[in-house]
Amino acid sequence: MEQTQKRETGIVRSNRETARGHYVIEVELPGLFGVVCPGQFVMFRPGTGETPLLSRPFSVCSQTETGETTRIELLYRVVGAGTARMALLRQGDTVNVLGPLGRGFDMDEGRRVILVAGGVGVAPLIFYAGLRRAREEDSGRVRIVAYVGAADEESIVGVERLEPHCDEVKIATDDGSRGFRGTVTELFRNDVKYYEKKAVVVRACGPRAMLSALADVLDGQGIACQVSMEERMACGIGACLGCAVKVRLGDGSVGYRRVCKEGPVFDMEDIDWHEN
């Protein structure tokens, strides 16, 4: 099924706080999106009010097509004015959704998948794990292990949603209040030697600092890794050039790529981790 990119007026079906400061919003959209690829995102904006001005990008966390409509879920954390406004949305409110946008994760590679999530970065990985499992008939059983990091026990999100799809979910908290004490990349670093390089692929999403640390861990390991990057976005469709991320080009030089268009998912080795 082909993907249609549209700006739609959707209706909020539910909007609940699932962990401290973290919410899941479910939105019903008219028409069908076609298959969203995990890692793709939407530009989201409440349907009324003039502030904030711009839409905000959120990874699609789940998608259900039901006859004539599409339901999507977004998992978000309140960090500023836009997400604070979003948390006030109630059932029946109208919202604007543009998408699905960007390049998602490659889905078919690897017989073993490692997911590395920092905070709300878990959102596209939940979608990835579920879809990977659903497609298993065709491609044989996949082993999925997820590493999930958060500041503390209270702000862990998505674990209960990952568990049904994963063989194992490992948790790291900065303060050790649940699981490993430390960052999720430290937790993963301890395990990395046990994985069989050629069979596994890594899919990661989280703050840049986490992804950068992950790049360090994987450096020279020969494990294929894709990361979903975040940058501030104005348009989400490749027009404003606001969401530039620095990449290494084939010839050894550097250049910028648009997170919203060439990304948000990039091959880890393409990113220039030294600088924005």
């Binding site: 502030t51 001005l53 348009c235 469709i237 490749g238 404003c240 050039l241 969401c243 530039a244 620095k246």
Partner: protein, 313 residues
């Protein structure tokens, strides 16, 4: 002239030699090379489209973060990233040629000569109907100030471009000046066919938790509804100061905003930041203006341009 509302009003306007099917143009740097918006609207409906600023050589642009939202505004420091004039001609122009709308190339340079060379290269490119000269570039000589802030330099660039092309030349003015009409008059005298204004206003934003600027480039240009009152005034003053047509812009989000500029005397308007909020914003604006004309029983858009009545009641 009044109409009974049965016929659709005339929406065509002319900017010198340039005839636009309606007065709504997408602003440079906010509509990519047009392609990006094709999934969301029929580009042929546009009055015109100004292409992202083009320089002689490709430019990489600034580090991220390049944008930050401010109250009713957008602060950007893209750094004029673009593919360069040659790649524009080979890679981007072919798509634009397929469109039935007026295409205006926005050009800039770091020197007067670069402006002239880019203008020269774009002259004769089939899809390019006019040039918009962006003189809001930081100029090495005057350290940080825009070329366009100095009437003398602005006029010099205008003359150079005028000589390098036979296309209509629209000079885009910067609002970061004490008196925009002084620059406008000099640019008119130097041979511009039209003026467009305003470009962004210089601004900055500070992250108080890190004590660092929110933009990697420290400063940026402010666009969006926040600047509209400043833009409307500058357009109104400029319209009175020159006799060439003026294209107005700055914070136009909907048809009502567009009409403010048209009533103040702008012959056409450009829409920038609004394209980011809704990629089909320009269509809503075109339809909204047409509806307003119908409601007001005006059968020609030109009959409302410059009708601002400032007499005391």
């Amino acid at each position: 002239m009044k109409t009974d509302g049965a016929e659709r009003p005339n929406m065509a306007v002319s900017i010198g030699r340039l005839v636009l099917k309606n007065p709504v143009i997408t602003a440079s740097g906010t509509f990519g090379y047009g392609e990006e918006f094709a999934p969301y609207l029929d580009l042929d409906r546009l009055g015109g489209m100004v292409i992202k600023g083009i320089s002689e050589k490709p430019r990489m642009g600034n580090p991220s973060p390049r944008i930050v939202e401010t109250p009713s505004g957008l602060l950007n420091a893209i750094g004029l990233e673009n593919v360069g004039v040659d790649a524009f001609i080979t890679e981007k122009a072919p798509f634009l040629e397929t469109l039935d709308t007026t295409v205006i190339a926005n050009i800039f340079g770091e020197s007067v000569d670069e402006y002239a060379r880019v203008a020269g290269k774009l002259t004769g490119v089939k899809c390019v109907d006019a040039l918009e000269v962006n003189i809001s570039c930081p100029n090495v000589k005057r350290g940080g100030m825009d070329i366009g802030a100095d009437p003398e330099q602005a006029a010099e660039v205008t003359r150079a471009v005028r000589q390098a092309t036979n296309l209509p030349v629209i000079v885009k003015l910067t609002p970061n000046v004490t008196d925009i009409t002084a620059v406008a008059r000099r640019v008119e005298a130097a041979g511009a066919d039209a003026l467009s204004l305003i470009n962004t206003l210089r601004g900055m934003s500070v992250d108080i938790y890190t004590a660092r600027p929110r933009l990697a480039n420290v400063t940026g240009g402010l666009s969006g509804p926040a600047i509209r009152p400043l833009a409307v005034l500058m357009v109104w003053e400029t319209v009175q100061a020159v006799s060439i047509p003026v294209i107005g812009m700055g914070g136009i989000m909907n048809a009502c905003d567009a009409l403010e500029f048209l009533i103040a005397g702008a012959r056409a308007i450009e829409v920038g930041t609004a394209n980011f909020v809704n990629p089909a914003a320009v269509l809503d604006i075109i339809d909204g203006i047409e509806r307003h004309l119908g409601d007001a029983c005006v059968d020609d858009i030109n009959d409302i341009i410059g009708t601002l009545d400032c007499r005391r009641k």
